[in-house]
């Protein structure tokens, strides 16, 4: 199965019942699949007039209690940024899948690149924190889409699935578990007027005052208090918002952003890679091990909030760290900070950006560092 199709299946399995889209490559197959799957689940597939409308309608649908998602690629992701900030500000759970392609601008529509990593973190204006997951297989397009919904529901926040063209378009075996065996998280909704009156800004995530229940919820992207009421001129109000919505994510980094370690037990050299780059990295690790080189892979699965502590722990015994990204080093500064003082971090882009790292090119660097 294709990665993009697996993403759609994961979304529906997670309970997604609203999907809005504006056509863009290489995310199109997600929409095709959703348009087939949703009507049977009595869910809405709608093609909006642009990506701004797609994310806007997703946020609107989320306030009626539905799990909602949109999918796009770089240009559309740029257009969505203002409303992603709105979803952060109003604590609206939703999922945005960005199947990254080569940019800036229109770039190359069907070439893999990881150019939106920093945009995912900081693309909308203002001070905020965000969750972004990076699948590296078709299986993870399924698994992490479900996880994205679970995190969105748990923390009442938009979650980004930061896929890339390779992962979206690759075909490989995907195991779809029985429905009963999936872990599905549903948001806490306000159950009475008292709860609904405190519908925002709880460090432990306030229950959501869903529309149509008689709570007269007030939802605004302006600075507001825990009742949702506008506090448009009090610095104390925006201070509380920024600290609360950042803290509810940052204080759970360990639970949100996991890392995978491959053959790291005795490794002198660590490759750090995520998304499609991690596939090449793992291949090289296994091949180098056969040559007796003590190399391992550390793969951040959650990129944001950056799992700094786990990364430090994973890298604490290595002498060399080679970071593979299909860009000019967007996550590299975060990883470099986690490298021990007596070790060295090297950044390695593919020889030609928007192509995958060639295994023998990576192997050459690994062999060099092993000397």
């Amino acid at each position: 199965m294709q990665g993009n199709e697996a993403c759609a299946l994961g979304a529906v399995a997670a309970g997604c019942r609203f999907f809005a889209f504006y056509p863009i490559t290489p995310a199109g197959e997600i929409a095709e699949k959703m348009s087939q799957l949703l009507p049977r689940a009595r869910g809405v597939y709608i093609q909006m007039e642009d990506e701004i409308a797609a994310i806007g309608s997703v946020i609107g649908a989320s306030w009626t209690g539905l799990k909602a998602m949109t999918a796009t690629s770089g240009p559309g992701f740029s257009l969505m940024q203002e409303n992603i900030g709105y979803a952060v500000m109003t604590e609206t759970p939703c999922v945005i899948v960005d199947v990254q392609r080569a940019g800036p601008s229109t770039g190359i529509v069907s070439a893999p690149m990881q150019g939106d990593v920093v945009q995912a973190r900081h693309g909308s204006h203002g001070e905020y924190d965000i969750i972004a997951l990076a699948p590296s297989s078709a299986q993870e397009m399924f698994d992490l889409t479900i996880r994205a919904f679970n995190l969105a529901e748990q923390y009442r926040t938009p979650v980004i699935v930061l896929a890339d063209e390779t992962v979206g378009h690759m075909r490989e075996e995907v195991i779809i578990p029985e429905e009963d065996s999936l872990t599905i998280t549903n948001r806490k909704a306000s159950s009475n007027a008292e709860e609904a009156a405190l519908g925002f800004l709880s460090p432990s995530v306030a229950p959501m005052p869903i529309f149509g229940k008689g709570f007269a919820a007030h939802v605004t992207g302006s600075s507001h208090d825990e009742h949702g009421m506008r506090q448009a001129s009090a610095p104390e109000a925006i201070d509380k918002i920024v600290r609360t919505i950042n803290q509810k994510i940052a204080s759970h980094t360990g639970q949100i952003s996991s890392i995978e370690k491959v053959m790291m037990e005795d490794a002198d050299i660590a490759l750090v890679a995520y998304g499609s780059c991690a596939r090449t990295a793992e291949y090289v690790v296994r091949k180098a091990r056969k040559k007796g080189i003590r190399v391992g892979l550390v793969r951040p699965i959650g990129l944001w909030p950056f799992p700094a502590r786990d990364m430090e722990e994973a890298l604490k015994l290595v002498k060399r760290v080679i970071v593979l990204e299909n860009n000019l080093g967007q996550l590299f500064p975060e990883i470099e900070r986690a490298v021990p003082d007596d070790a060295e971090a090297i950044f390695l882009a593919p020889e030609i950006l928007a192509t995958l790292h060639r295994p023998d090119y990576v192997m050459k660097h690994v062999t060099q560092e092993a000397r």
Partner: protein
């Protein structure tokens, strides 16, 4: 004695934030009267507000679910709310800049889709909240804070725009035509289909200053004097209509409403699989 519409006002939301003499108060009261007379329960209403003075009509003053969103996007958000729960009466409060400049795309597509949201567009022919800048609806020649030598561009006729996009209910009134405005709002609220209500509203602070009428009552009188009904306008020459505000109910037709079509799709999709 409480005002008969007080039950629709959110507790603690007052005092309001509109400039003195603003047309928003007339529109707010007209809407609440329409809601009250039609008898829609408060818990069924969701008001979606854009950015600009018009957004502050429902937000936070109406005691209903309110989604106050990003500039230009209330119709897009409202589309998600209505599709998410078609039982809700979803009403958009938007301004002329919000609906036709930054958000023009969403307006025409909502009309084309015939999704059953009701759009109340408060057209004051200027950007009020940000300081009286020229709008896509500002008449040619008008001096605003950003057209000190007079506006060079032609204004949008918003109702015509929505009619061309397929709007099934389109009406325009001014803040002078309160009784007719309430009647049109009631009609919009009792129909399934998309509705667009353009309300020319007096902004004595900014537009009034631009045209030299800063007294709100005088502005309403000016609306009265400058308005002609669509019925009358049909018999007038183009020259005579120039500079007038044509008001009335322009379109009132039924067409399949989008959320109903979805409901049919869901039935069909599940019949096929059984």
């Amino acid at each position: 004695m409480a005002h008969p519409l007080a039950k629709y006002i959110r507790k603690g939301a007052q005092p309001h934030t509109h400039c003195s003499g603003c047309g928003n108060g007339i529109i707010a009261q007209s809407f609440l009267r329409a809601v009250d007379e039609v008898g829609i329960g408060k818990q069924k209403i969701v008001c979606v507000a854009g950015i600009g003075c018009s957004g502050w009509i429902p937000s936070p003053f109406f005691d209903v679910d309110t989604l106050h969103v990003t500039h230009g996007r209330p119709i897009a958000f409202a589309t998600g709310v209505k599709l998410g729960n078609p039982e809700l009466e979803v009403v958009v409060f938007t301004g002329d800049g919000d609906a036709s400049a930054i958000g023009g795309n969403h307006l025409i597509h909502a009309a084309r889709r015939n999704i059953g949201i009701k759009v109340i567009c408060v057209n004051n022919m200027i950007y009020g909240m940000t300081g009286g800048e020229v709008a896509p609806t500002t008449p040619r020649g008008t001096k605003t804070t950003t057209t000190p030598f007079g506006n060079l561009e032609r204004p949008f006729d918003l109702s015509k725009l929505v009619i061309a996009a397929g709007g099934t209910y389109v009406a325009r009134w001014t803040t002078y035509h309160v009784a007719r405005l309430v009647a049109s709002m009631k009609k919009a609220l009792t129909r399934d289909s998309f509705a667009f209500l353009e309300v020319l509203s007096h902004c004595p602070v900014h537009y009034g200053r631009s045209i030299g009428i800063t007294d709100p009552v005088q502005m309403i009188r000016w609306f009265q004097k400058q308005s002609v009904t669509i019925e009358k306008a049909r018999e007038m020459s183009e020259q005579d209509i120039s500079g007038k505000f044509v008001v009335g109910e322009f379109v009132d037709v039924e067409a399949p409403e989008l959320t109903r079509l979805y409901a049919e799709l869901f039935e069909a999709a599940n019949r096929d699989t059984n």
